[in-house]
């Protein structure tokens, strides 16, 4: 096993105080404090090879960010082993930190009151980037992300999306080999999301960087990741190709059918999800697809018919539902 990122039964447990509400409970807690253990990450194992772009998915509180923080050396694991680029992240060695980056959608490294160019210069000094290389990389990123009109404005005057673009450029100036991206498109409009996605893809292709990405926007995952890892309640639920995820967890397909007339009852063919004039969308169990489409074509005046996998959001939701049921007490 020689992956760039390797996790072997990695765990992070938090000890959190618990207390009932009310004055009596407050007084009681003065003498006897009670705690419970929250297993934020519970013995997860996976391996990511160089140059892979992997989507790391899970609902809020699943343990995604905690895992990223352990992989970037911010958090000390409770158990298990992990290496990134051959380093143990929790040792926080300088050589390790020089080769990774963690971008969090809700955090920034830029100096708030100054133009981004000054923050970029600070990055140059922090990562000891030779001046010529720094100028070349900076100008390349300004070009790729179309930052020319933004980098001379104080960061506080930039919009959220503009700030995120500048933030990503700053986070990659030292050419990290491993990128941990935690909701990099959080709160951005569709155009800005697309721009950031294409930049990450471009960076991955140019420099062969390894990317582990969390996002609640499935468009990010579909555009960037061939492989996804799904966790829920700190446990690994799925690790494999995105297409395999759909295949494995989606019990249904959607059938879009356009008829010559709007007056038709399609309920007997499957669950009608939507109807727009003569266009119907049905949800049909995978095993029934061949039979149902044949019947539709035979029984009705069909102008157009297509069969699709359900939206990835629906599949992921289904995976989480399965995970939730698995976690419930028996």
């Amino acid at each position: 096993m020689t992956g760039i990122i390797q996790l072997d039964t990695l765990s992070k447990h938090f000890k959190v105080p618990v207390r009932e509400s009310g004055l009596k409970a407050s007084i009681h807690s003065l003498f006897k404090r009670e705690f419970r253990i929250v297993k934020a990450v519970d013995e997860i194992s996976f391996k990511i090879d160089q140059g892979e772009v992997v989507g790391f998915l899970g609902p809020n509180g699943a343990g995604k960010t905690t895992t990223l923080k352990m992989l970037s050396g911010l958090l000390y694991p409770t158990g298990g082993n992990t290496t990134v680029l051959g380093f143990v992240p929790s040792k926080r060695q300088t050589q390790f930190l020089q080769q990774i980056t963690l971008v969090m959608g809700n955090r920034q490294q830029l100096v708030w009151d100054l133009p981004a160019l000054d923050s970029f210069d600070l990055m140059r000094a922090i990562y000891s980037i030779p001046t010529n290389e720094f100028i070349q990389r900076r100008d390349e990123f300004i070009d790729l992300l179309e930052l020319k009109d933004l980098v001379n404005k104080p960061v506080r005057n930039l919009s959220l999306g503009e700030r995120m673009k500048v933030e990503i450029a700053g986070a990659l100036l030292h050419h990290p080999k491993v990128l941990f991206l935690d909701e990099p498109t959080l709160g951005l409009d569709v155009t800005m999301q697309r721009r950031i996605r294409s930049f990450v893809a471009e960076y991955n292709q140019r420099y062969g960087a390894t990317v582990l990405l969390t996002s609640h926007y499935m468009a990010d995952v579909e555009a960037l990741c061939k492989r996804v890892i799904v966790i829920h309640h700190g446990k690994l639920l799925f690790d494999g190709a995105l297409s395999q995820l759909v295949e494995q967890f989606s019990a249904f397909k959607t059938v879009g059918v356009t008829l010559q007339t709007a007056a038709a009852d399609l309920a007997k063919y499957g669950e009608v999800i939507s109807k727009d004039g003569t266009r119907f969308t049905l949800r049909v169990p995978k095993a029934e697809i061949a039979r149902v489409t044949a019947r539709l074509l035979a029984d009705l005046p069909v102008n157009d018919l297509n069969v699709e996998d359900p939206p990835i959001e629906d599949v992921i939701e289904h995976v989480f539902e399965d995970g939730k049921q698995g976690q419930e007490p028996q």
Binding site: F14, K69, S72, G73, L74, L75, Y76, S90, R92, T94, Q95, L97, Q98, I100, T101, L102, M104, N106, R107, Q108, Q109, V111, D113, L114, D118, D121, L122, R124, A125, I126, Y127, S128
Partner: protein
């Protein structure tokens, strides 16, 4: 070494630029800050006059010199506070500092050093105004001026180490304001911030000899305002260096154990 020098210079440059953005706020802050020494000065000058022109060897002019230099030393003594530590640890903002391949303490030292440059520039007219009004008795010899320069930076580093140690307690428990307040009470009594140490009872002076506080206030002020031999000056700077080293070692040990406790909540 060159890398660190470059990092320090760049951070100092950025801190200066940032501080100049808020120069008016800085000025109002400094004006507010001089209220404390002016009160001490008025009280002690009045006592000195009432006692025939001198108390504990200090004339009103000597008090004026002491508290005038106090204003500069106090500004130089401003470092990243334990409250700042508490805030950045509790809010999770510290994550961003920890991701960098440079110890966060370097960033704190460099950033506040940059602020000092602006502070000194802003202090000059204020210091001149106070001099005109209170007429300080200030006659340093050449080596005192040079020694004072090093002493105020020594004080800055000692206080950085002390308050960083204090701030790092937040890694273990998040509500530490009461501990901070206790520390500042000790500092007020044993540092010379309240009154020159030579006016304190002998027992306080003796206890202060075993603590670092007086090397952050009393010594830097005295190095400029009191008659001092070159030997005495060098010994004082040496003791400051000793406290810096002790503080640095303590910070390293504390850091080793405390950073593991970081829970990076909220970010």
């Amino acid at each position: 070494m060159r890398h660190m020098l470059d990092y320090y210079l760049t951070t100092i440059k950025i801190a200066i630029q940032t501080e100049f953005q808020y120069r008016v706020v800085q000025y109002f802050y400094m004006i507010g800050m001089i209220a404390e020494p002016v009160i001490y000065l008025v009280v002690w000058s009045t006592i000195a006059r009432a006692q025939g022109g001198m108390v504990g060897g200090y004339t009103p002019g000597a008090f004026a010199a002491y508290y005038l230099v106090w204003t500069l030393v106090r500004n130089m003594n401003i470092v990243f506070t334990p409250y700042g530590w508490e805030n950045r640890i509790r809010s999770g903002w510290f994550s961003m500092d920890l991701l960098r391949p440079i110890h966060p303490l370097n960033g704190d030292v460099a950033q506040f050093a940059g602020m000092k440059v602006v502070v000194i520039i802003l202090w000059i007219p204020l210091g001149l105004l106070l001099s005109l009004f209170f007429k300080p008795d200030l006659h340093p010899v050449w080596y005192q001026v040079i020694g004072f320069f090093f002493a105020i930076w020594g004080a800055y580093l000692i206080r950085t180490m002390l308050l960083s140690l204090l701030g790092m307690i937040t890694f273990f428990t998040t509500r530490v304001g009461a501990i901070f307040e206790l520390f500042f009470a000790f500092e007020l009594v044993f540092s010379g911030r309240l009154v020159p140490m030579s006016l304190m009872p002998p027992v306080v002076q003796q206890a202060a000899n075993y603590m670092p506080f007086q090397w952050t206030f009393f010594f830097p002020i005295e190095s400029l305002v009191a008659p001092m031999t070159l030997q005495h000056m060098l010994a004082g700077l040496g003791i400051q260096c000793l406290w810096i080293v002790i503080g640095w070692v303590a910070v390293k040990v504390m850091w080793h154990f405390s950073v593991r406790q970081f829970s990076a909540v909220g970010g």
